[in-house]
Amino acid sequence: MQRTARRTTGGLALALAATLAITACGTQSQGDNTGSTESSSETGTADLAIVPSVQIDIDGQEVPVETSGDPVDPAGDGTAECAEGTSIAMAGALTGPNAALGQNILYGAKVAVDAFNAANAGCQITIKEFDTEGDPQKATQVAPQIVGDASVIALLGPAFSGETSATGDVFSQAGLPSLSASATNPDITKNGWKTFFRGLANDAVQGPAVAKYMVDTLGYEKVCVVQDNSDYGVGLAKEITAGLGDAADDSCSAEVKVGDKDFAAATQLISSSDADAVFYAGYYAEAAPFAQQLRDAGVDIPFVSADGTNDPQFVTQAGAASKGAILSCPCGPAPDEFASAYEALNGQAPGVYSVEGYDLATIMLTGIASGVTDRAGMLDFVTNYDGEGLARTYKWDDTGELSSALIWIYEVK
């Protein structure tokens, strides 16, 4: 009995080899032109990186990169004194499908806190992590714990717009200043909360800026807008489509789902339309396979996306297909020493929103260093704060939006 089993599976394997042989001779006919794709395995994507190219303002015009003042150093002058156990909280998705984004923010903040604790022996700050799995209901369960913990005097988060809408009232009534590094839904700041500060430009700024940049500066007449179904993707796509106006070609616009890997139909729609560019509103986990399948289908029009895709993972996963992609981000380029400190501490390259996590944590730490001991003190410190961070200058208007919002444009070269 045993032998026959082996022989049959052997037979199956033989049939298999035959299959491959047949298809091989199928590819034989075009054997000569595969030579064209040189690139032995080593060069690969090692040289491809996301390189900052230009900074644009809200109407897409290039703005000379003024060398902003040197960013505030979280270490401060090392003389900070604070009560024992003072801590800042971080709330966001640390597990579940979007865990990577939450971790980027947390690790960025840790770099700042480590620098602060190293320099200020008299004041050791701890980061208390609160995992919301990106689920609004879990956020409502975590919020009371954060507010209830008296030692927490500032909150870095909530990370996603959904969680922020669900728990905004909680933090505003508790007077706990909450600085979000990634919630970009424009109407969060329309709820009249005094304690919410958005650490980056919202979609209402990034959308029109990138749209006008594409139409005026890059000169695209027809752009296909593809969005995913996350609240980030939907919000951004709305702004971009509005900004593009009639340049948005809705015959090839499509909506895909978070977690999708197969974009055959969307690719076909785009390749059969005569668009000049594709704009993808969503995260890198879907942008990478989408870009790669576009290139496979022979669609080589420029691939434009935003901060959700502006992550080294996009380049590693999309490989050659990511060459020439244009990525916008309200975040400034992470300077090299931050990237090396980040890698040393967390063992991975900084990702999307890591810089914001660092900047906002730095603001809280400088607040504590300047003698703030409670939430009210921190609240008015942040409200009147005006200082330089790695990504941008941080100064908030009364609704919690950044006043000077500039967008960076990056390119994968």
């Binding site: 026959t4 049959t8 794709t37 909506e255 197969d262 993972q313």
Partner: protein, 342 residues
Amino acid sequence: MLVHDVLAADPLIGFDLAALGRNFWALTVDGLTYGAVYALVAVGYTLVYGVLRLINFAHSEIFMLGMFGQYATLLALGFYPSGDAFDKGILLTVLYLGIAMIGGMVVAGGAAVGLERVAYRPLRKRGAPSLVFLITAIGASFVIQEFVHFVLPALTGGELGGVNAEQPIRLVEPEVQFQIFGANVTNVTLIIIFSALILALATDMFINRTKFGRGIRAVAQDPVTATLMGVSRERIIMLTFLIGGILAGAAALLYTLRVPNGIIYSGGFILGIKAFSAAVLGGIGNLRGALLGGLLLGVMENYGQVVFGTEWRDVVAFVLLIVVLMFRPTGILGESLGRARA
């Protein structure tokens, strides 16, 4: 008043037959490519259901393990994962493809047999009702996913598994070979469809012509009598899971040819549910039904996306399933491997 102007304002569900007309053949070719993968995975579901009356929910994770299996084989062969395609000449590429496919098959087949022994055999020994089997299958599906999610990166020092998808290793760069009715047919499509066809034929012959195949059909139709006739039920069940696993492993390689960055712990779940719907569409327990169901589902999904909008893909798949089951409860080709059981 309110309702009217909302619906009229912007058609919630578009209906664009012209787009379908323009891209018909290209969508069909793409649809068949994905359909072939659905079909191979669907055969695994159909075999196990035919023999054991069990929806093997964990089969989607067997497919995912197959993806990691072929990826690990390529790593072992010294391929360094980078975004670019490798070009080592045709013969070498085919050789590596073959080895990787066999690697995927071994891992997936082994995992399927292991799954049967750990999860289902103890239940069979206790004569459990079918709902209990289903719950165990769902449990096993969670366990395998979280194993690859957390435990595998720990075991392999971060090489395999974890939160992000694996960096792709591309063996074959898609090159357009020829066009039928204006639709590009690339070498990747050719490899996938031909391999799937050959594997399907081999399985069909195996089930219908070999001694083992008869054993499977006998156990499917009447386990008690089959056992009385000297057919060892346990070995047949093990063999059924093995074949399902092998085909899933092969499908895994073919899938990663098309979607090299799909290798992630959660990569199999939705595809598995689609594949099972395809098996039910074709007629659960019916081998050819699974193949037909897979191809049909792949193609219908693509058409539905273009006609109604790409966000309606999964809805089209499930509505198709419900409609077919209402008018033809035993699926298009009707059940055959086992008894007709509504």
